[in-house]
């Protein structure tokens, strides 16, 4: 198991490096720059600015400077917000984004698994039909529309929860954003879980377990859930990364102080530093998530470890 883990970690390193390279060059090769504001800057100021951010050097040199800094954990300065380093912006915004996404992730995964299981055990009875309906709504309504509808209904008409904004430490402000984020995730998890659970409940080994008379609860808990989780687990990694990226939009819609706000503003201002820094951060998170998923997978399915 340890050797397997080590091999997986090592193979992720070159992928990360290449991905950073691709992002770097795509951003830099695109037309426009951070200082093409509405008001043209005097040439001398512009040259100074460019020199300050190393933009006057050949692209390859910039690339190596960037990688060198990255290896030291430095994501460089923001080019638009003066005196702010990208790392600092991330330190301010990311914890909020992460909290939002993780809360949604935990709730949605739990709800999705339980709902999927209940639907599978009651296949083609009313709990199953209710689930199919709820899943359908979650999957087809895009998050920004869902946000608008929930804001309108629960925020404006019923006034149960604030429709947007943020007051420090107020969980009421998180209810609607978390619901918007969690719903589609829970929907997909429950769909996967339902499918794989139905498959597992039809297997010979579950029949064996039933034939032993150990009771429905043990049959499900010990014999069915673990194998049924295998396809679900492989979705959790991508699922969390959707939540993290989806969170950017939800923050924007609900006016929450996460990294999404900075990212979208930075993209509009062509602030290479922040855009690249955020993208790289997300990339690393996604790679790490895939890695974790692979390891959990190996635990769930003992056969994988020996390959």
């Amino acid at each position: 198991m340890l050797g397997y883990a080590l091999r997986r970690v090592l193979s992720a390193i070159p992928i990360a490096l290449i991905a950073v390279t691709i992002c770097f060059f795509i951003l830099r090769l695109a037309p426009g720059g951070p200082f093409d504001g509405e008001r043209a800057l005097p040439p001398l100021v512009l040259a100074n600015l460019r020199a300050h951010y190393n933009l006057d050097q050949p692209l390859v040199v910039q690339y190596f400077i960037y990688i060198w800094r990255l290896l030291h954990g430095d994501l460089g300065p923001s080019m638009v917000i003066e005196g702010f380093s990208v790392s600092r912006l991330i330190a301010i915004g990311f914890p909020f984004t992460l909290t939002l996404a993780l809360t949604a992730f935990v709730i949605a995964t739990f709800v999705g698994l339980v709902a999927g299981m209940i639907a599978a055990v009651n296949q083609n009875k009313w709990p199953d039909y209710v689930l199919v309906l709820v899943v359908m709504i979650g999957v087809i309504i895009p998050n920004f529309l869902m946000a608008a509808l929930l804001q309108l209904w629960f925020g404006v008409y019923l006034r149960w929860f604030p429709a947007g904004g943020w007051v420090n430490g107020s969980w009421m402000h998180l209810v609607l954003p978390v619901t918007v984020l969690a719903w589609p995730h829970a929907a997909r998890i429950s769909r996967l879980m339902r499918g794989s659970m139905i498959e597992v409940l039809g297997t010979n080994y579950v029949r064996t377990a039933r034939s032993k008379g150990i009771g429905q609860r043990l049959v499900l808990a010990r014999h069915a859930i673990k194998p049924a989780l295998i396809p679900v687990v492989s979705y959790l990694g991508p699922g969390l990364s959707y939540l993290l990226t989806g969170s950017l939009a939800v923050e924007q819609i609900f006016g929450l102080p996460g990294i999404g706000k900075y990212f979208i503003t930075a993209a509009l201002n062509r602030d290479y530093g922040i855009v690249l820094g955020t993208t790289i951060l997300y990339m690393f998170i996604i790679l790490a998530l895939n890695l974790i998923v692979d390891l959990v997978y190996a635990w769930l399915d003992p056969k994988v470890r020996y390959r």
Binding site: Y205, R207, T208, R210, S211, Q216, L218, L300, P302
Partner: protein, 328 residues
């Protein structure tokens, strides 16, 4: 007179399909006595497995069983699942056809064995594992303590079937149902497995139901046999009687399509035609399209299962001598 352990009366199994019903088993009757080995023989689709799955409460969701299966004075048919759990695994156990897929791939062997004892005998986990290892040894698994820690995919097919046998016998059940227990195994392993069945069930006084399509399996092992066709029993009796003097044309056909034991046949002949579809059983005797001895009555009326003396029963109108030459 040995004790009767199971009495099955008028057992029928139906499956609800999209807009119709299929009768997989109809009006099955038999009794099982202690230590007896009953072979249930038939082609696939004859209902032999479904009959016993229904007794175990393991029918597919759309299946329904009626009739009685009396374990002592308890009727297992139609009992709800949680009540049934008090008996299955303890008094009545089942072994399935495919040992490769019948063990849970994500659990260690010892977990899968021990849980039976924890549930039915109230053992604590350690004691259950020790007992499980003992049972593994008893079914002829070398290094049982090591194998108990293995996952199923680390064991060979024969080894897995031994684990299945050990699992079924842990509580020394009154009845063991083995559904095609040797079909998926190598021929060399098959014989060992049958010996194991025979000796263990004798030791425990367990009655064994051997469901098979292979008469070769029946020959050396079973005491009595029941031949099934199209969901019904067509002939019943002692194995020797049926082998040397089959009275139903289907039994005769089966004997001649099996190697080794078709003493009188010079060659091997499969039965002509295909097993019937349960949705479209022919009128009259279900076997009539494939029968060389049929006459008018067989096309109109269904022959009931009737005693013919010496503890035998058959469901056939033909009273003349069954000679294989006529079939060929």
């Amino acid at each position: 007179m040995p004790n009767t352990v199971l009495t099955v009366e008028d057992l029928s199994v139906t499956f609800a399909l999209h807009d119709s019903e299929v009768h997989a088993v109809r009006d099955m009757n038999f009794t099982l006595t202690e230590s007896e080995i009953l072979a249930v023989v038939g082609e696939s689709g004859s209902g032999k497995s479904q009959a016993f799955l229904s007794i175990m409460g393991l029918l597919a969701r759309n299946g329904r069983a009626t009739g009685k299966a009396m374990l002592g004075d308890i009727n297992l048919v139609g009992m709800n699942k949680s009540q049934l759990d008090a008996y299955r695994g303890k008094d009545i156990a089942m072994i399935f056809q495919d040992p490769m897929t019948s063990l849970n791939p994500s659990l260690r062997v010892r977990t899968q064995l021990a849980e039976v004892l924890v549930k039915h005998r109230g053992f604590d986990k350690d004691k259950a594992i020790r007992a499980a290892i003992e049972m593994l040894e008893r079914v002829g698994i070398p290094e049982p303590a090591k194998r108990a820690n293995a996952f199923p995919h680390e064991l060979s097919g024969g080894m897995r079937q031994r684990v299945m046998i050990a699992m079924a016998l842990l509580c020394q059940p009154k009845i063991l149902i083995a559904d095609e227990p040797t079909t998926a195994l190598d021929v060399t392993v098959q014989a060992q497995m049958l010996d194991l069945f025979k000796s263990l069930t004798q030791d425990f006084g367990t009655a064994l139901v051997l469901i098979t399509h292979d008469l070769g399996v029946v020959a050396g092992v079973a005491d009595r046999m029941m031949v099934m066709y199209g969901g019904r029993a067509v002939e019943k009796g002692k194995v020797d009687d049926l082998f040397y003097d089959p009275r139903h044309p289907y039994t005769l056909g089966l004997l001649h399509s099996t190697p080794h034991i078709a003493h009188r046949a010079a060659r091997l002949d499969p039965i002509q035609g295909l097993p019937p579809s349960l949705e479209h059983l022919p009128k009259g005797c279900s076997f009539n399209p494939r029968c060389a001895f049929r006459f008018e009555r067989c096309l109109i009326e269904r022959p009931p299962l009737t005693p013919t003396g010496e503890g035998r029963e058959k469901a056939c109108f033909y009273e003349g001598e069954l000679s294989y030459e006529k079939v060929a």
